[in-house]
Amino acid sequence: MSVGAGSVAPRGGWRRRRAEALAASGAAVGPGRLALRRMFRNRLSIAAVAVLGAIVLAVVLGPFVWTADPNAQHLNLAVAGPSSAHPLGTDTNGRDMLARVLAGGRVSISISLAAVLIAAGVGALIGLAAGFAGGLLDAVAMRAMDILLAFPSLLLALAVVAAAGAGVVSITLAVAIPNVAFFARIMRSMVISVRERDYVLAARASGVRRSRILLRHVVPNSLSPVIVAMALVFGLTLLDVAALGFLGFGIQPPQSEWGTLLNDAREYLLTSPVALIVPGLAIALTALAGNLVGDALNDAFDTGR
């Protein structure tokens, strides 16, 4: 790390003091805490977590602070530039853009988050079963995942929305399904490697039941790459959600969503560029922060071994 000589001494100081305090307390340091500690040693990681935290906080708490109704139309004020009443201006229907960005973020982020959780949960279960059981189940499950991976994710998402309609649930599933295969593969490869570790053999040799071995040894030791992938996939999923919205297959008006906002703003790009820039920036920044958090977790968990 390239830190100025002047800043090294005090930083080393508090670090040493904290380490000593920890050692004195005699508390056991688990792998989770070790990973967190490693993660917060890197400034970029701290920044990424801070940015992502700030964005999430803004879209969750924002509507309570900025109480303008995102769907209230003031047609006399349509396509206005930024003003004190409307800091980000208004759209073609005279709706307050700041309120719409905040409300849209809630939708985009919660759909992405739900989709990641679903994809990771289902994918990890499939991977766990395939990796642990092996044989025919493994072969069948993995060929199914290969088929899933053969489709471009956005195309697959479009197909799902086309078939199931553009509701919140169907959009969530549409962006979740393409990622199931990704998580299944990660989990399977981890399970296959962890299954062969000596502590699994030791547990078998001490008569521990298979189900326990799976739950206590295999799953916890296989999860870290899945968690890393969740952060990375979150960023990509957000882009997918926005892409669906931009193409008009996502969240339907009047409800706001970042991709939909982009599509709307396209029409009056020249008169009110801020309406395009802000949601665009929000999408880019959130996706970027998600990726960086993923990288940070990757370093923290030391999965690149």
Binding site: V29, P31, D198, Y199, A203, S206, G207, P220
Partner: protein, 334 residues
């Protein structure tokens, strides 16, 4: 006394693209209650495969292809899975080579000890913890109350191996299979672990099958020794007999390759000439014959069998057996 463990003609194959590798080719030995048997041999001679096969822990591509493992009146190779699970860790416990890899990094020592106990009996969390502390104290870990809540990475290598031994002792087994338990440790820690195993053997009467490639360690700890070569027991007898009067040329070569304490510092060690055979296909004759300085015609033609050459001292060698049968005709060797 009836043997505690009676292994007969145990055979293990590993399926490989070029045909099955016969890693263990009919290993027989017996272990009396309270006895420490050393199983010694070089890498790839089938030591670990033998140990794992005893508890049916051979995974594909390996498979047990024959023999029997009689333990407390049952053949472990044919008992149903539930019964086998009760024996694993209950009556026969295993200690592995690398304690750093044999402990789960995400669980505290206490939870892992508890898991070993709870695999075999019901007990509350508090009981398990108290017993875990007891076990840690038994194996000589200072401050067990604190250690029990720590993670493996917070312990030294020697301490981790003590934890593994504590886990093995959790259910008071009749037999401990120790698969190179000191190989990953430095010499002083090695000595401590050997002392601990010896103490357990003396105080609790636990029989130990101690697998190692280290002749010095075997000599120090074991009552009897079985020398493995190319998946066969080639010599077996009391530690004293085997080390003082080795009968099989392989054992002699092994002992001859050790550095002698009195020898000049720059003197060269004597290696065992040649390399172990490739164990695919069916070898004909004695597996050691190609490397053997005392080879005679029959060695290439027929498999020798493990037979007594002296009282309670067996060797699988045509020459040694011939010498035993006709002590006067000692010149047969050359």
């Amino acid at each position: 006394m009836a043997p505690l463990l009676d292994v007969r003609e145990l055979a293990v194959d590993f399926d490989a693209p070029g045909g099955a590798v016969h890693a263990v080719r009919g290993v027989s030995f017996a272990l009396a209650p309270g006895e420490i048997l050393g199983i010694v041999g070089e890498s790839g001679c089938g030591k670990s495969a033998t140990a794992r096969a005893l508890l049916r822990l051979i995974d594909p591509p390996g498979r047990i292809v024959g023999g029997s493992v009689l333990f407390e009146g049952r053949d472990l190779l044919t008992v149903p899975a539930a019964e086998l699970r009760a024996v694993r860790g209950g009556r026969i416990a295993m200690v592995f080579q690398d304690p750093a890899k044999s402990l789960n990094p995400v669980l505290t020592i206490g939870r892992q000890l508890a898991a070993a106990m709870r695999a075999h009996r019901r007990c509350t969390r508090e009981q398990a913890r108290a017993r875990a502390c007891e076990l840690l104290a038994d194996v000589g870990i200072a401050d067990p109350q604190r250690r029990v809540d720590q993670y493996p990475h917070e312990l030294s290598g020697g301490m981790r191996q003590r934890v593994m031994i504590a886990m093995a002792l959790a259910n008071e087994p009749a037999l401990i299979l120790a698969d190179e338990p000191t190989t990953a440790l430095d010499v002083t820690i090695q000595a401590q672990i050997l002392d601990l195993l010896r103490r357990i053997n003396q105080e609790q009467g636990t029989a130990i099958a101690f697998i190692s490639h280290n002749l010095g360690v075997i000599a120090e700890l074991c009552h009897r020794v079985a020398v493995l070569y190319a998946g066969r027991v080639v010599e077996m007898g009391s530690t004293e007999d085997v080390f003082r009067a080795p009968q099989h040329p392989y054992t002699r070569a092994l002992l001859g390759s050790l550095p002698a304490p009195g020898a000049a510092a720059r003197s060269r060690l004597t290696p065992v000439a040649g390399a172990p055979p490739v164990l695919t296909g069916a070898p004909r004759g004695c597996a050691f014959a190609p490397r053997c300085p005392r080879r005679i015609a029959v060695c290439d033609e027929q498999d020798p069998q493990l037979e007594p050459v002296r009282p309670a001292h067996l060797a699988e060698c045509w020459v040694a057996q011939a010498e035993a049968a006709a002590p006067a005709a000692g010149g047969l060797a050359s």
